[in-house]
Every structure is written in C-alpha cells, then in structure tokens.
C-alpha cells in the first residue's frame, strides 16, 4: 500500500458525503447509486474509527460524488468508454468523480452484462480509499490496485488495504479480526 505524499488524512471521526443530483446517470436510479455507496463506505468504516453520513447538501458535504464526462474542469479529463474509470482526490479535497461514459452496473449479474460493463461498487470502494488518503497498491488482489477488468467485482478489503488505512486512522474498536483472516484467505486464493 502507499499514501499520497505527506500522508494527508482527515482529522475527524465523521465525514459527510453527498451524491450529485445534477451530475448523474439516466440509466441508474439515485437509490441504486446510494445503495452501492452505502455498501462501499461501510467496508472502510468497519475497519477504521471513521463513520460516513449521507447528506443531501452537495455543497457542504465533505465528500462530493458525481458522474462527469470528458473535460469536467479539474484538469483530469475522462476519456470515454473504459480507459480511466474514475478518480478521487487526497484528503481533505473530498471530490470523487466517475466517468459518465462507462457502462456502470450495480447488480451481480456480471456475466449477463455488456462486455464493457464496470462494477460501480468495486470502483467506488477503490476511490473511497483515495478519499481517505490511500494511494495505489502493487498487490493485484488489493482493492487499491489501480486496474480493474470489465465485468469483475472486487469489493472486499484485503489485508494490504486494511493495513494501509489502519496506519492512517488506527483501528475501529469494533474491528472484527475474523474479517481480516477472511481477507488473508482471499489473497491466498488469488
């Protein structure tokens, strides 16, 4: 695991997040997207003493999530189908942008989806890692590995992901060690 230079992190135990009501997709309901992000945030909040609160007010939220196409003004233009899927900024910037040109899927029917379909929860979980201060991992099994094949799901944090974020934020008092063991097994299983 790696961090952004300077190891920036949030110095709060609760972060608010909002999903843009204007920069959205026409083929996914806002509830679908919210459900995916709730699951993704819960992965991280289960291991560190930081909780995430969903709010409606996009402008005041700590973490701002939206779908954007092409050049959207942050110097990191999206490039159409596949290529770069999303990006997020280091603490305490809080912006998480997803490429609106992708074919995002929110269900588990990966094989029945388009050949260029990308699992939203996998990318959301990865990008939240960036929002928290993690960089990319060189371990292919890790959520924070930079590449993701279309039609694949990678949402379970591995030991590498957890070790990285624990070093930044310390452990959640409710952290269950058996969940880490399970992650370690998942690495052994490739």
């Amino acid at each position: 695991y790696t961090y952004f230079n300077g190891k920036p992190k949030w110095n709060r135990d609760t972060l608010t997040y909002a999903i843009s009501k204007t920069h959205k997709l026409d083929y996914l309901t806002s509830e679908d997207v919210k459900t995916v992000f709730r699951r993704a945030f819960s992965q991280w909040s289960s291991v560190i003493p930081v909780s995430f609160e969903e709010v409606d007010d996009f402008t005041t939220a700590d973490l701002k999530i939206g779908f954007y196409a092409g050049d959207h003004g942050d110097g990191l233009p999206f490039d159409g189908v596949l290529g770069t899927l999303a990006h997020a900024f280091a603490p305490e910037n809080g912006r998480l942008h997803l490429d609106a040109a992708e074919t995002w899927i929110v269900d588990d029917d990966l094989k029945g989806s388009s050949e260029v379909a990308v699992d939203l929860e996998s990318v959301a979980t990865h990008e939240i890692g960036h929002l928290l201060g993690l960089g990319h991992s060189s371990q292919e099994s890790a959520v924070m590995y930079p590449s993701l094949r279309p039609r694949t799901k990678k949402v379970d944090l591995t030991v590498d992901d957890v070790a990285g974020v624990l070093k930044l934020y310390g452990p959640n008092p409710k952290l269950r060690l058996d969940s880490l063991t399970q992650s370690e097994d998942s690495i052994k299983n490739g």
Binding site: G83, T84, V123, H136
Partner: protein, 121 residues
C-alpha cells in the same frame, strides 16, 4: 492448465480491449519492441506513462523512439503494478497497460516506510 471456460474468458477479456474503446490505446503491437527501436505507437505509450506519472517530460511531445528513459519508466511501472521488473514490453505488461484503470497517478506516492518494522513484529 486453464479450463476451456477460463480460456474463453481470457480471450473475451483481450477482445474487450481491442474492440470496445476507440479512445483507449491498444498497445498490443508494441509487445517485445526493443530499446533503440523507432516504432509507431511508442509515443502513445510514453503519453500513457506520462499520464500516470512515469515519464517526466514537461514538453509532452513524445517521440516514437524506445529510449532509456522509457525503459526506466516501464521498470517503475512494473514495480508499482507488481509485475516482474524487466524494463521490457512483455505481454503481461502490455496487457495490463491496456486494461481500464483508476485515473489517479501511480507515482508521487509515499511507500509505507514502516514495512521492515512491521515485518519484524
């Protein structure tokens, strides 16, 4: 040995890269290009590596020559992505470069410097 299903899956994954994305680079023709070669498409590869922080060139105008800095950039890419570090455009490296990915740069990151301490415990 791959099962027939797995082989089919691999073939499909490769096909995705070739057919689905007009904006993304297909680097497959660069497999095994040697240092010193002048091959069309190398400039695109340099642009890709520059995009993700591996090539430091302020001009952003890249030649098609496979030069020493490109070899170094490929080695660093391989190290960061957990590939065998060869500095060469082997199949696994080129395949990985053609996969969709996060837009955040791989470089300018701080590697966990407590690793040895952690390992000792």
């Amino acid at each position: 040995r791959n099962t027939p299903e797995a082989e089919q899956s691999t073939a499909k994954a490769t096909q995705i890269i070739h057919v689905s994305n007009s904006t993304w680079h297909d680097f497959s023709r660069l497999v095994d290009v040697q240092i010193g070669s002048h091959v069309s498409g190398v400039s695109e590869l340099k642009r890709y590596l520059h995009r993700f922080g591996y090539v430091n060139d302020g001009s952003e105008i890249f030649s098609d020559v496979f030069d020493g800095p490109l070899e170094s950039a490929i080695s660093l890419y391989q190290e960061n992505l957990g590939l065998p570090i060869t500095g060469r455009l082997d199949t696994s490296t080129v395949t990985l470069m053609s996969l969709p990915r996060c837009g955040v740069s791989d470089t300018h990151m701080t590697i966990n410097n407590d690793f040895l301490h952690t390992t000792a415990h």
